[in-house]
């Protein structure tokens, strides 16, 4: 092997060992080619002997480390790079020399062990080249062993991957948040509902839900245009979300101008308080609505229901009751809250609503 010949030469340096070969022979030899390759390779190459002394230090490394080859040769690894003392890299070099095992040092787990910089600017700013390092034992058996440390610049790959992660984060945010209104998405609401219902079932606690609809929103859009309509939805959503006080309470856009709230560990009484607060918060926005026959401003209607998942009341049942209550709230005049309790419907003051309305199917 070519490298064996280089490295087993009694002289420490690759270059001095080559100097002993006659010039003509050298020019034509594979050594010359190998020397050129090592010198020009766009990757860091360093070889250490059994005493962990540097016997090869190529140009790429020399430039990135801002060290002349002559400054590096003959020095110990930690003598040249004191910060590598007791590092994983030093350990890997020792293992490769003693056991003959190779080692991979990933950028993720090691970042940038060597003080290598792409240029002066980066050096001044302390921005190291991101490194992937391979430690490869050379030679085996009776011949003396060497350790090749190969350093690749993976800065571009790191940057690309960080971009990918940023995009994934953005994507994930979009899955959680409704883009138009800024409240939670229906998908996230459903995920959380599953989790909360499971918790409530185990702990025998109630879960309440509120269905909310912006009154006569179609008229609002007709009167003010879709752009104003979108703004109105966002403002109402924000006000409603602000009316939810506990961190686990979640308001999500259910679709169109409909919103839904999940209130874990809340009974009907608690949910009534919350829904009345929503009504009040939206009212205080005083968004003018000239096409409404309910009020001169934008109002909302809500249906409230509560259930014990431990007694077999599923998400579908609780939501469907809230939806029916909402339907009744709209049917009996809008701008109000209707509660569903034991299959009956009530005002927030506890008065029963005798409704002979046809039952609306839960979507």
């Amino acid at each position: 092997m070519l490298t064996d010949l280089f490295l087993n030469s009694p002289n420490n340096s690759l270059m001095t060992s080559l100097g002993s070969i006659s010039d003509e022979c050298f020019q034509n030899s594979k050594f010359h080619l190998a020397e050129l390759v090592v010198r020009e390779a766009q990757i860091g190459l360093m070889v250490l002997d059994t005493n962990e002394k540097i016997v090869l230090f190529n140009d790429w490394l020399s430039k990135a480390a801002n060290l002349k080859e002559t400054e590096a040769l003959g020095k110990g690894l930690t003598e040249l790079f004191p910060e590598l003392k007791d590092s994983r890299l030093q350990n890997a070099v020792e293992t490769s020399l003693q056991m003959g095992f190779p080692a991979l040092l990933s950028q993720s787990l090691n970042r940038a062990p060597f003080p290598l910089f792409a240029g002066e600017e980066e050096r001044r700013m302390g921005l190291r080249i991101e490194q992937q390092i391979q430690v490869i034992p050379l030679g085996s058996g009776d011949s003396p062993r060497f350790s090749l440390v190969q350093i690749a610049n993976v800065s571009v790959a790191v940057k690309r991957e960080n971009m990918l992660l940023e995009q994934a984060k953005e994507l994930k945010r979009n899955l959680i948040i409704d883009g138009l209104t800024g409240v939670y998405s229906r998908r996230y609401w459903e995920e959380q509902t599953l989790i909360e219902l499971r918790k409530a079932r185990r702990a025998c606690l109630p879960v309440a839900m509120i269905m909310l609809d912006v009154d006569l929103f179609k008229n609002y859009n007709d009167a003010y245009g879709h752009q104003e309509g979108d703004l109105c939805l966002a403002r109402v959503a924000k006000a409603a979300a602000n009316a939810l006080k506990r961190p686990r309470d979640i308001l999500a856009r259910y679709g169109g101008e409909e919103f839904v709230a999940l209130l874990p560990e809340t009974d009907l009484e608690g949910a009534t308080v919350v829904s009345k607060r929503i009504l009040q918060f939206v009212e205080s926005l005083q968004i003018a609505h000239k096409q409404s026959d309910v009020a001169s401003y934008v109002t909302v209607s809500m249906g409230v229901s509560c259930g014990f998942p431990s007694e077999g009341e599923s998400q579908e049942i609780i939501l469907s009751e809230a939806d029916q209550a909402l339907y009744i709230a709209k049917a009996v005049g809008r701008n109000r809250v209707v509660l569903c309790k034991n299959k009956g419907f009530f005002t927030t003051d506890g008065n029963a609503i005798n409704s002979s309305l046809p039952e609306r199917r839960y979507r």
Binding site: M99, L104, S108, Q132, S140, A168
Partner: protein, 203 residues
């Protein structure tokens, strides 16, 4: 079928047990978590049979493998179910789980973890045999365990040695495996080494 006598089998298991102990210690150090080890199993099987014994139930697993050539040749593999590989690596790197697949950089980090664990495992084995192994760089593979552990097609009809150890990390409910695969000629070299090792103590 290839059989070892009791003492050979026992010696082989004990030698690997020592390696696996060091491997578990290395993994524990990286994850700051206790790693529980099963008692290793050792079987000599035809590849077709061996496939039935592989862990993972046909699920996708991630494996890091390194080939060690020395007193005997073996393919050493550290493997985890895919979703658990994500969990381990992101736990070690302190990252959020945003993507459902390992990124290139994460695969590389997993390779490094495999490298540390497998080297830790083989070092005492080399010491016991007073010999050296040449080892390849760690390689990342993902697929079913059959694919990840696949042996050379030309050798598939021959007897292979399959050694399996289960690694359990309790806090993260992670179960991984360390597997060692050797084909027949290597098994014979291995047993010759084991015999030499035994004779040193029983003379």
């Amino acid at each position: 079928m290839f059989v070892l006598n009791d003492l050979q089998q026992d010696a082989l298991l004990e030698i690997f047990n020592i390696g696996v102990g060091k491997a578990a210690a290395a993994l524990s150090k990286m994850t700051s978590e206790e790693v529980l080890l099963s008692v290793p199993t050792l079987e000599f099987l035809e590849w077709e049979e061996a496939k039935q014994h592989l862990p993972g139930n046909g699920k996708i697993i991630c494996g890091i493998s390194q080939r060690f050539d020395g007193p005997f040749n073996t393919e050493a593999i550290l493997m985890f179910p895919e979703e658990k590989s994500l969990e381990i690596i992101r736990y070690i790197l302190g990252l959020d789980s945003l993507l459902e697949r390992l990124t290139e950089m994460e695969q590389e980090a997993l390779c490094e973890i495999g490298n540390i664990v497998l080297n830790a495992c083989m070092a005492p084995i080399a010491d016991i045999f007073s010999a050296e192994f040449r080892a390849t760089m760690p390689e990342y593979r993902s697929g079913t365990s059959e694919h990840v552990l696949s042996v050379d097609v030309a050798e598939t009809n021959r007897v292979i040695m399959l050694m399996l150890v289960k690694l359990q990390m309790e806090k993260h409910e992670i179960e991984g495996y360390l597997a060692f695969l050797s084909v027949l000629p290597d098994i014979q070299r291995l047993t010759a080494n084991v015999d030499r090792f035994i004779s040193e103590f029983t003379k």
